[in-house]
């Protein structure tokens, strides 16, 4: 399917997005965060927990005073590596258990420390590349079914139940499995450790949990003859750490948005901008596809009104991801099917928006979210709305398709609910597989006019944000009617200015 869109307007939107990204990028390059520093330690091999179950990377970063931290954790940790001769993991445990403090190794030269860290960092980088190569090989041997890739969530709070549900969903046709996180994990300033057996509304993202589901899905992939992807959430206060863990455990996708946490979780904007950048650099290297969170604009406000904001956010997410070295094929921009089912021609508006994104971001594996806001206890109606969503997705060539579930408004999906949802999607996508190839929306008709309106309003919005600056615009409530101040929100105390001798060993490797 093709609709007429004003390509000059698209070019102007991209220019505005670049102007919006410039000052953000300048800020990012002058700062780091505690989460970035902890992810450096995790990449070097530090793991485990110390007293009170505090993760070792947290204990080490917290042991540095502000002046020391401003130069980064790498050099002090490198000095300790040289002096003790320990491997990073053992050294981390010793530091966490009080067997040593970083301050005692100050006599080791900076050069020696740097050499020790570079050796470990290269090894870590090679591990990431090896996992990426492994994914490429597996996907080559066992190709996925054609897109839209059916994406299914599991969320029991117990990783072993999640594993069962994940395998059952894969058998029922799911091609991507997401383990929903325990509610509130985005607001924790640490990553929990070990396998989870009790969570609320989901299961903690931990490296152990990643490995458990990865192994089960690899086994299912072998049996089914098609590669089943695994995804999680690099959002909240620990974006770079989750990205590091995901790279090491060969996750295939991560939710990773440049503004979601700011707007919808009240996480400090400076923290988020710095964290999203480093996490995306890691994702670029590990070959992980990011999913952005534009669907959230639609669940909290009117979907027809918010359409230009969705497109504007897609442009900004794309630009910031490019700045972190991500190619278009790894940037899964988000959208959702959330227009009020009582609105006449709402379906046409949905097609317009989905097709607009498809044409503006041709390389992006677009992520399409199902209806949630207008789902009710009437599961029969819900199943019908989901079918219209499925049709929109296949006819506009969306890539990552989050299957809508008829019991969305009632409970965390039952195993049977997921199977019904997958059957719905498979039926609609089979029966209408090439519909989009064979229809041409009427030139100047309702779909084209709607797409043109959304694009032109988006252009105005981006110009306004570029003129005012992104941080000031968020402060003024331009996005989703939510106002956030640059120094407010959670996690601001974990942002710091880099000293002139600041060093992050992975920045060079990842560039």
């Amino acid at each position: 399917m093709q609709i007429q869109i004003d390509l000059n307007a698209v070019a102007r939107c991209r220019k505005s997005a670049a102007a919006i990204a410039d000052p953000v990028q300048a800020f990012v390059e002058r700062h780091s965060t505690v989460s970035v520093e902890r992810s450096i330690l995790r990449l070097l091999g530090v793991d485990g927990v110390g007293p009170n179950d505090t993760p070792v990377p947290n204990v080490i970063v917290e042991s540095l005073d502000a002046a020391e931290l401003a130069a980064g954790v790498a050099i002090p940790f490198g000095r300790a590596l040289v002096e003790t001769g320990l491997e990073p993991r053992e050294l981390g445990e010793r530091l966490a258990n009080g067997g040593a403090v970083l301050a005692q190794f100050k006599s080791v030269s900076q050069e020696a420390a740097r050499r020790a860290i570079i050796a470990s960092a290269r090894a870590a980088f090679d591990r990431i590349l090896a996992r990426r190569g492994e994914r490429n090989d597996l996907m080559h041997e066992r190709p996925q079914l054609p897109p839209p890739l059916l994406y299914m969530i599991v969320a029991s709070g117990n990783i072993y139940e999640d594993r069962t549900a994940a395998v059952a969903a894969a058998e029922a046709g799911a091609q991507i499995i997401a383990v929903i996180r325990s509610t509130g994990q985005s607001l924790l300033d640490f990553v929990p450790y070990g396998p989870t057996t009790e969570g609320f509304g989901g299961t903690y993202a931990t490296q152990a949990n990643f490995a458990i589901v990865r192994e089960a899905l690899d086994e299912a992939s072998r049996r089914l003859g098609r590669y089943v992807m695994l995804t999680n959430y690099a959002s909240g206060l620990c974006m770079p750490e989750i990205a590091a863990m995901a790279a090491l455990e060969r996750l295939d996708m991560l939710l990773n948005d440049s503004m979601y946490g700011i707007l919808f979780r009240d996480i400090n904007m400076k923290r988020t901008f710095v964290d999203q950048h480093f996490s995306r650099k890691l994702n670029a290297a590990s070959g992980i596809i990011i999913n952005t969170g534009e669907d959230n604009y639609l669940t909290t406000a009117d979907a027809v009104e918010q359409a230009p904001a969705v497109l504007a956010s897609q442009f900004i997410n794309e630009e910031l991801a490019h700045r972190a070295g991500m190619p278009g094929r790894q940037i899964g921009l988000g959208d959702a099917y959330e227009i009020d089912p009582n609105l006449e021609d709402g379906f046409l508006f949905e097609v317009a928006q989905a097709q607009l994104a498809r044409q503006i971001f041709p390389d992006s594996p677009l992520k399409y979210m199902p209806p949630t806001k207008h789902m009710t206890g009437d599961i029969f109606k819900g199943h019908l709305i989901d079918a219209m969503f499925n049709l929109t997705s296949v006819m506009t060539g969306q890539t990552i398709h989050l299957c809508g579930i008829l019991t969305e408004a009632i409970h965390t999906p039952f195993l049977g609910d997921r199977a019904l949802s997958l059957e719905n999607a498979r039926y609609v996508m089979r029966t209408a597989r090439h519909f989009g190839d064979d229809v041409i929306p009427k030139p100047g008709g309702r779909i084209e006019r709607r797409a043109a309106d959304v694009l032109s309003e988006c252009e105005v919005l981006l110009e306004r944000v570029a003129a005012r600056g992104l941080m000031a615009s968020i402060k003024a409530g331009v996005f989703a009617d939510v106002k956030r101040s640059p120094d407010g929100g959670r996690g601001f105390d974990g942002v710091f200015e880099r000293a002139p001798d600041y060093w992050n060993p992975f920045e060079e490797l990842l560039s």
């Binding site: 609320f200 909290t300 408004a409 009632i410 049977g416 199977a419």
Partner: protein, 241 residues
Amino acid sequence: MIKPYGDTLDDGKVQLSFTLPVPWSEAADEAARQLVVKMGFADVQVAEGRAIAENFSFFVVYAATPQSIDFESLAVPSVKTHKMSMEEIDALLEERVGRRVRVAGACIGTDAHTVGIDAILNMKGYQGDYGLERYKMFETFNLGSQVSVEDLVRFTKEKKIDALLASQVVTQKGSDVKNFTALVELLEADGLRDNVILCCGGPRMTSLLATELGYDAGFGRGTLPSEVAAFIATRMPHRAG
């Protein structure tokens, strides 16, 4: 007395669907049938039985229940007041209370989903119905997500809150009920329970559940801000004198 209606009065027909953790086979169909008979149903027909994964089968079953309910004898509270506009509510409060009513709302416990409380409190509201922030006669405090019940009770005391809205979107394993109960208990322990109009909200909330939990009202999915506003306005005590 009433029974479910299929196509004839009192036929008692219901539909059920469920999953059994076994690979599908004729025996699985029979297991589904016997299970529904054990539930007390008669005339059980397994309309559909099939595999939905290697080790799971799904069933659609029609059956008739012998049970009935004495509808006339039921007493169910309803908090729905007659529909009032924002202007009417402001006018009512101006006349009856004569000062701005202080309303605090929060997503309690570990719940980070503020969509419900935001829809009620934020200026913009929900489905074209303005939120309480927009009312002249409400002073609102949206405390956001993951507010501990201790913090909420402390805030209620400090700010002399008139109406408290507690929200829980996540309902898995009854976490909502636990948190709602903890809030009531703490308010009672602090002697504050009778000083506030206490409301709870969430996707599964009903008036009946709210009453059982010790709340003045409960608001479920699809609630408009004006419904909450009208409830508060009609429950606010008249000003002295």
